[in-house]
């Protein structure tokens, strides 16, 4: 089930919220576990077995490590950890990368190999990373072993972040699993956050995504440099508003249910360097790779050469994590090179540049990166990049002019929406209203602002529903993650 569907919004969600509210506190985890399994089974009835296996397996690994401690054989704990890593990553690789490897080997040797043609279990990359965070942190004695399999199962399968993140590490929520007391204020914040996230996905991402879906299939004869850049910019906005919208919805649902999930995006397109971009983009993935790959490899503590190697590994894996395709690997390595150049000298150099140049520099490489990410066929990618740099195409054409004109206003909204402007504007309007009305009706101002804000959210929700019901373009971008 995806959040941006009527069956989730008006079926699953109200039922779950109602039952959850009425449910005695001690059964809530059990209920969430069952509800999450239902949520997952909606789209993947068979693959639920894999998720349950991961759950039971890593629950057992935690117990096993504790048992070894009790028997005073802690030296064997690392074997349990190894087993957990090998099996989890093994399952992930089997489903996600087998065909990619077979196909690549086939192409290289010239003898096509038969493919498995397995559908990728949705969310497997997210929940695998979540369960791994548990066993690794248990091994490091950073978290306590979870004895209750229901509680652990609820953590692994919890529907808000199950299929598109954020990647919630066990240590992030260990306390909240047993003990969460949400306030109504927090729930209201959660509902608001959810609506904003839904609107970002449906009103903004889907609309601009439709533009990318059209430009990406233009025949070469209809292509131009202008169209190619517009397409890449469209995708740049689509992936941000889609992904951060999903994260907002997940975090919002978390708040309604009493969880505090980590933030995942922090206005990434305001960045003035690629280094900064990756501190603001998909933050939970970055944290995961830093905590569980980069630092264990030695991070920056073993000399420059080793650090470069470590970065290479991390960015190769980051690329690969996003999908089994050469373009994703290329995309990861592209950022490796950029980050390395920045680390070695460019960041120091850029310190002297005017802010706007740093901004343009960062955005240029971000947009170019998304073009690499979006074209999953290498030959298509190649000709698309050529078009972006004006090779074999005109600078502009009628089709590009039409699209710029038709989507101009939406692009402006997206640009503004990528900054903190809307948030600040809403805040200052609210304060202004409060003071203006507050002078005449003490305490009335705050109430008025609250009502107006609620009305605004209701309008956003209504329009989102209208776009969903009308069957507008509504893709799910994370089926390859």
């Amino acid at each position: 089930m995806v959040f941006s569907s009527m069956v989730f919004l008006c079926g699953f969600l109200p039922v779950v919220l109602t039952v959850y509210a009425l449910c005695p506190v001690r059964f809530r985890n059990f209920f969430l576990f069952i509800a999450s399994l239902f949520f997952y089974a909606w789209g993947e009835p068979r693959y639920i077995v894999i998720m349950l296996f991961s759950t039971v397996f890593d629950y057992a690994n935690g117990i096993a490590m504790e048992y070894l401690d009790r028997r005073e054989k802690p030296q064997y704990r690392k074997w349990v950890l190894m087993l957990s890593v090998v099996v989890n990553i093994g399952i992930l690789c089997f489903f996600k990368y087998t065909d990619f490897v077979l196909e690549s080997v086939g192409t290289l040797t010239g003898h096509p190999l038969p493919l498995l043609k397995l559908a990728l279990p949705i969310g497997i990359s997210f929940y695998t990373f979540q369960t791994l965070s548990y066993t690794i942190d248990v091994y490091r004695r950073k978290v306590e072993v979870q004895h209750n399999i229901i509680d652990f199962g609820m953590y692994v399968c919890l529907f808000p972040q199950l299929i598109a993140g954020p990647i919630v590490r066990y240590s992030d929520v260990a306390e909240q699993i047993r003990n969460r007391r949400g306030s109504w204020e927090e729930r209201a914040y959660g509902a608001q956050r959810f609506i904003v996230g839904l609107a970002k996905k449906v009103l903004l991402a889907n609309q601009i995504g439709d533009l990318w879906s059209q430009i990406s299939v233009l025949p070469q004869s209809d292509m131009s440099m202008s169209a190619a850049w517009l397409g890449a910019i469209a995708y740049t906005f689509q992936i941000y508003f889609d992904f951060s919208g999903y994260s907002d919805m997940a975090i919002g649902l978390g708040h309604i249910l009493g969880f505090r999930f980590p933030e995942n995006f922090n206005y990434p397109y305001l960045s003035r360097s690629i280094t900064e971009f990756w501190r603001r983009w998909h933050m939970t993935l970055g944290t995961w790779f830093r905590e569980y790959v980069y630092i264990p490899l030695g991070g920056n503590r073993k000399g420059t050469i080793r650090q470069i190697f470590n970065l290479l590994v991390v960015w190769f894996l980051t690329g690969l994590w996003h999908g089994a395709g050469w373009n994703f690997i290329l995309w990861g390595l592209y950022f490796f090179v950029l980050l390395l150049v920045e680390k070695l000298f460019l960041l120091r150099e850029m310190g002297r540049w005017p802010k706007i140049f740093r901004h343009i520099y960062a955005l240029f490489f971000i947009v170019l990166g998304w073009a690499v990410f979006a074209c999953d066929d290498m030959s298509v990618l190649f000709s698309y990049l050529q078009s972006m740099f004006g090779v074999n195409v005109a600078a502009g054409n009628g089709i590009a002019a039409y699209y710029w004109q038709s989507y101009g206003w939406l692009l402006l909204i997206l640009v503004i929406g990528s900054t903190q402007l809307p948030k600040k504007a809403v805040r200052s309007v609210c304060t202004w209203l409060c003071t203006v009305t507050g002078q005449r009706f003490p305490a009335g101002g705050e109430r008025l602002v609250y009502v107006l804000r609620a009305a605004g959210l209701a309008v956003l929700l209504l329009i989102s529903v209208a776009l969903l019901v009308s069957g507008s373009y509504n893709p799910f971008l994370y089926f390859r993650f």
Binding site: C10, A188, A191, Q207, I399, W409, I413, I463
Partner: protein, 386 residues
């Protein structure tokens, strides 16, 4: 603080819940006139289909289709998209003077399929050696009314396609009415229906078909191409049939600003016996369609595999076979007086062997009549080989 937060959260959940409850309890609408399609129904729960995820998919779709206020919400969605400056909605350009145009671009048309279909027509010509074979590929509305498209809006390259047709067709006469259509629409006080800019409407604004007058241009061009003189439009005693026609393009864009079209019909027709797929009908026009959404189905009541029209008192013994899409339906009434028998074959629904059919029913004239994009995209023309 707390009270208004409680109210807000409860209202949020309740609003969603009410939407869901109404959908599930009241959602049994079968057909959407507005959108011109059958809506998806709530499925029965079959355990096997649950395991494959089929039931879930259907439930998801049904939930969307059966949601209360669907028509109103779809209109709202179009309004929002127009509001943020979009010039096309649901694959339809929002043109000037209340015109709508299907957004068919080069990537939507396969040149190889088009070429293949032209070769199938050649094959048909070789099957019917004694007949005069003509292809009339009606231009897409946007190609004639380019100035009504939104600024910079582009369509597929029609020039190249007519050029290919000219080069590929052998023993088939190609009738290209693009010039005629462009001239006719500029007639200021001509017959037919005028649009808000005062031009003669050769295509409907809200539908992808040509108007009765557009069909007349086709009739005239064809008749003259086979060396006969065409009767004047007024001779056919044109009467208004409906002024409340919202066509297929409206159904796609669902724009609340749309202005309905007027359908006119030629009334002065020769008497004829008409059978549609073996079933006799009383008249060319199915006037009951006046009260239905798809008013273009007034001609013969819609599309059939074979429509056989035998004139009762013909003044000649000419016969005509038309391989066609729905564009022919409105042109055939004009042709009736010139033939003893007209047969229309719609390959989408025709189940028999074409070569055998042509052998059994030789005709003096064969006409292939399709709208250009629908001809290029037609996937059943290979039946001409069988």
């Amino acid at each position: 603080m707390k009270k208004k937060d409680i109210i807000f959260v409860v209202c949020f959940a309740a609003a969603l819940a009410i939407g869901g409850i109404v959908t599930v309890t009241a959602g049994h609408r079968e057909y959407s006139d507005n959108e011109n399609r059958y809506l998806i129904q709530f499925p029965k729960l079959v355990p096997e289909d649950v395991m494959t995820g089929e039931v879930q998919q259907e439930l998801t779709d049904a939930f969307n289709d059966q949601f209360p206020g669907r028509d109103w919400l779809t209109a709202l969605s179009t309004t929002v998209k127009k509001g943020i400056g979009m010039k096309d909605v649901g694959g339809v350009y929002l043109g000037k003077d209340h015109y709508y145009f299907e957004k068919i671009m080069n990537q939507n048309i396969s040149r190889t399929d088009y070429f293949q279909n032209l070769r199938f027509v050649n094959r048909l010509a070789s099957l019917s050696k004694d007949a005069e074979v003509t292809a009339l590929l009606v231009p897409s509305p946007g190609q004639i009314l380019k100035d009504k498209l939104p600024e910079h809006a582009s369509l597929y390259d029609a020039d190249a396609m007519y050029k290919t047709a000219k080069e590929t067709l052998q023993n088939v006469k190609l009738v290209d009415i693009r010039k005629d259509m462009k001239e006719v629409r500029k007639q200021q006080k001509g017959a037919g229906v005028q649009d808000s800019s005062g031009e003669t409407q050769v295509y409907y604004r809200t539908d992808h078909h040509w108007t009765q007058y557009g069909a007349y241009v086709g009739y005239k061009a064809y008749t003259e191409s086979v060396g006969r003189k065409a009767a004047s439009y007024k001779n056919f005693d044109i009467k208004e049939f409906s002024d409340a026609f919202y066509g297929t393009l409206y159904s796609k864009a669902l724009d609340s600003d749309a202005v309905p079209d007027t359908i006119e019909l030629p009334e002065n027709l020769p008497e004829a016996e008409i059978t549609c797929d073996g079933k006799e009908i009383d008249a060319v026009y199915d006037t009951a369609k006046k009260n239905e959404k798809d008013k273009y189905a007034v001609y013969f009541g819609g599309n059939y595999g074979e429509v056989d029209i035998r004139m009762k008192n013909p003044d000649n013994d000419r016969t005509l076979v038309i391989f066609k899409d729905s564009f022919a339906n409105s042109m055939v009434p004009f042709l009736m007086k010139d033939y003893a028998q007209i047969r229309m074959i719609d390959l989408r629904y025709f189940k028999r062997s074409v070569s055998k059919y042509m052998e059994e029913n030789p005709a003096d004239e064969v006409l292939v009549l399709y709208e250009m994009s629908s001809f290029a995209q037609a996937d059943k023309l290979n039946k001409l080989m069988k």
